[in-house]
Symmetry: C2
Subunit: 472 residues, 2 copies
Amino acid sequence: MAAFRATIVGPAFLQNVWPRAPKHLHLAGRPRFAWVPILKLPRLIRVRPGVDTVKWDLADIAYPGRYSSRGQGIMGSFIDSSLSLLAKQTHPVISLAMGCPGPDAFPLEDVRRITTEIMEHEGPVALNYGPTEGDPLLRQSLLEAEAEATGLDIDPDCLIVTSGGMQGLDLVAKLLVNPGDPVVAELPSYSNGLATLHNYEGNVLQVSLDDQGLSVEECRRYFDRRGARPKLFYVIPNFQNPSGITMSLRRRLELLDLARSYEAIVLEDDPYGDLRFEGRALPSLFALDEGKGTVIAVRTFSKTFSPGLRVGWILAPKNVVTKMIAAKQSMDTCTNVVGQKIVAQLMAQGVMSRHILRLRHEYRQKRDLMLQALERHFGSLGGTSWTRPEGGFFLWMTFPEPTDAEKLFPVALEQGVAFIPGPAFTVQGGLRNAGRLCFTYPLLTEIDEAIRRLRYSYGLWASFGVEGAAAR
Amino acid sequence: MAAFRATIVGPAFLQNVWPRAPKHLHLAGRPRFAWVPILKLPRLIRVRPGVDTVKWDLADIAYPGRYSSRGQGIMGSFIDSSLSLLAKQTHPVISLAMGCPGPDAFPLEDVRRITTEIMEHEGPVALNYGPTEGDPLLRQSLLEAEAEATGLDIDPDCLIVTSGGMQGLDLVAKLLVNPGDPVVAELPSYSNGLATLHNYEGNVLQVSLDDQGLSVEECRRYFDRRGARPKLFYVIPNFQNPSGITMSLRRRLELLDLARSYEAIVLEDDPYGDLRFEGRALPSLFALDEGKGTVIAVRTFSKTFSPGLRVGWILAPKNVVTKMIAAKQSMDTCTNVVGQKIVAQLMAQGVMSRHILRLRHEYRQKRDLMLQALERHFGSLGGTSWTRPEGGFFLWMTFPEPTDAEKLFPVALEQGVAFIPGPAFTVQGGLRNAGRLCFTYPLLTEIDEAIRRLRYSYGLWASFGVEGAAAR
């Protein structure tokens, strides 16, 4: 593990230094000259930069007792980690796992042109620090777009640009969630969002969804029975991740009423709302709140344009945004300026809205193909069902009991298709016989084949179990 | 404040809705048709997107009792906020305030070329999610550069790419600092770093610097007297922000010894180390630690290349990096991929190292000019002194007692020069008769004039006070 090549200044080295070399440093080769600090004898030993190499083992140093309590139990993301897992596959795998735009879903030519323009006309500004609250043109464009889409004319100080929607969730949890605070989330819900709430040591209670969205009545019963109140409701009202379900208007109003009765905040995470393929758009919870400050809205360009640029935004009462600006200054100073300027120009030049129209069309085709494929391959399998989302990225698949989707997963991967098993969308496990399928990332031509492979994997798993399936 | 234009479907409106309109909504114009949710009567009222506008007042909604305890006392950055303050000035101001590269300090042509190449050859990858731990080429290049510069051959799993150095500090504090944990920082120290430690509710103790760096003996006496031990030492060993002081080798070794005796972690923040103009480079605390895991190193490209791209990295024991990856998945998923790829190419193509050589040369000139200007304009003013940094961005100016730099600040701004007053670099105030001057951001031709204006402002303030100075 450890390898060391060093050179010695003088004969003192062997006498003084060698016996005191740290145990995990092994000297090899013919030492001539080595480095001060490593062996603690000033001016005697030196590693020559670019010539000598010291390898040491930082791999197995645990930090017992040094982590904070939030650090001790920190929770990551099965979804994000699945990127690495997928990268390790040596055979072709069609991924229905990540919630990504398809590789064919970027307005590349426009981005290339706009990036060149930015570098030419405002390079020194784009490469330097920007205001924490966000690029002025981007903020103005976002407010105008919100006004145009919903009729809301919002105070500019109620908007902050964030490093993706994820940082929006992080900021809200940081400012609002105390250790032990009861926080309601949907069951199932977005893994990373759940992790954020958990990582600020919130006590996350997941309440099930029906076809109208979060079961508000179940929330009310739960808390009223205990004489307790939640601090926060975390919901994804449109084409929910992972279920694809959209919260009905009535349910939205009920949720707002309930939240107000508890003096709780509703955290509205809406990455997919602009990607509606059919039916009428419903007003956002933020709009429905009539400016009462019950709702904090988290938005992002990650699903409608680019996750890699990491640009999102938050709408919240001005006082809250003021605190968010302060918090963000100690988190990442500002959102990457080049990304903000690219998005601002895409909006200002009208590219963004055309792009979203195109995505709606293409993603609708992909959804339809997946629904057809599911009918074709799983239609005759009793106990199987899936949701039929009106937009977004995902549908939710339920397999016959007692399927274990986590055990089905490696079989499916082996057969060349990836999805995310149900338990990834829970804090405490459960939903073992279900999983999330993303229909936007695979190519049109891959979708039927992906579902065919999933059906075949299910058959293998059901007949032979994981080991047996692997052996076939 | 509130303005509302709406249209009514039918005659039921005036009867049913108008009396129940929320008090903060004022209806104006001739309403014909308005929106369901706003007035809570489904299917009766609708605001037409793109036509009607509702303005509501989210400005004065406070969140009493809803903030978390960390949210309640969240601390921002005087430095970052000064950007907005500067932007509001209507007369030309030479800024010695922000710690920015100069507007003339970007390799614009290379960035433009490389960005175009990235969009052409790997656009769909650059615009999509990347691995949380960072772009593979960038991570490899960083490890190679570390090996070349210091002789350290580090396990790839000990490195994570971050959204600037600031997120590095945030990750470390998140994982290690419990509310109330004693944390040592230098006095003065980087505002945003102090804010991060404070915002995780660490109990920040600032210990003064001498010309060798942090007064390690003072730390030892302080904690030994109380029978307590700190959890973390936060230090900026090279060309410290804001003092410009470099921690001597002996002091570095003493600090490591002390930290180990307390089983504490040393958080080494080193944005400026590569920008040494003279003298010999000292080994980093991370290198001096010999792989014992005492030190977590936070690095960034913000000072050597671009703050706006938000790319930094951390070196830490593998187990800690594993936790950081999990934590980052719930903070911002991954660092913006385009920025990572630009930096990776700048390194791989050899542009970065040439650029840093150029910066060393230019920044040295700027430092020399500022030192000359200080001698010229302040040399005869008793009780004034300044540091003479061997590299980096800043020097620290001490004015005669009893100068109040916060009161001098608006006078200087009025006279066309900005700096950061001393108290911004403390958690609890103090250092009122001092301030930080950045010599890298102003143009060469502006430096003497900036210091002349500062001297003139000081004279005005000393003779007439703030009000008097403003009146002149």
